[in-house]
Symmetry: C2
Subunit: 120 residues, 2 copies
DNA sequence: TGACTGGTTAACCATACAGGAATATACTTC
DNA sequence: GAAGTATATTCCTGTATGGTTAACCAGTCA
């Protein structure tokens, strides 16, 4: 049995999760999963506008999920929290499983309907 | 290399994370990690007020993270998503590690200061 | 039926925050 | 230093949501 989570952790945990609770930020993180990227590159890969990406990157940096490096005019960001990929992977897998279950259920329904139809 | 996350997943993933992005909900889930609980029990264990707990439980149920069972006057909830515990555990561990690092750093600073002090 | 208990919902307020547009900053180059 | 490029910030608006209180069910029991 896992030791119970201490009260003081709840806020910290919530904040980590909050960072991942937005599709745009997830898109940004996905882009960074492939490696270090300049802001412009992230903008291109995510299709979000620049101000937006910049703001989200700032949040992520402040939360310690990404690291910032400036080089001339450009600013490069990269993942800086091993947790991110693991969390995303886990959730991603679950979504696939859930989708699979839904499809299985639908398939069964459909098959049942076909059988019934044939009997008529 | 993990297959890249499809666009259609981002919203679903964000929603999962959003459910975990609130300290009250985490407290509720923590309470349910010990087993099935009535609303009143959850209220007692979390210290949140009843209306509040009820609303959060509803959200969690709609998101499929908990299951609801009614028995007479009482309503019992229990975890219904194997993901929850794993995600919480992961995040929890990271927080511990981060706290450890901070403490190590502080200890080093303090030791350095002590040495300096002694030399004076 | 009426009182009581456990849960839910509604109405409200305050806050956070995502997105867009415009502006500002930082650095490079000419 | 003027112009240009890559980022950051500010201002604004709409929306979501957390918390609280009070009202509202739904069962139980007398």
């Amino acid at each position: 049995m896992a030791a119970t989570i201490p009260d003081e952790f709840l806020d910290l945990m919530a904040e980590k999760f909050r960072m991942l609770a937005d599709p745009s930020r997830l898109a940004i993180l996905r882009s960074l999963m492939a490696g270090e990227r300049s802001v412009t590159q992230v903008v291109e890969e995510t299709g979000r506008n620049q101000a937006n990406v910049s703001k989200h990157l700032k949040m992520l940096a402040e939360a310690g999920l990404v690291a910032r490096r400036k080089e001339g005019l450009q600013v490069f960001y990269k993942l800086d929290d091993p947790l991110v990929e693991r969390l995303c992977k886990l959730v991603c897998e679950t979504i696939v499983e859930e989708a699979q279950e839904v499809m299985d259920r639908q398939k069964k329904l459909l098959d049942g309907w076909r059988v019934k139809k044939r009997k008529e």
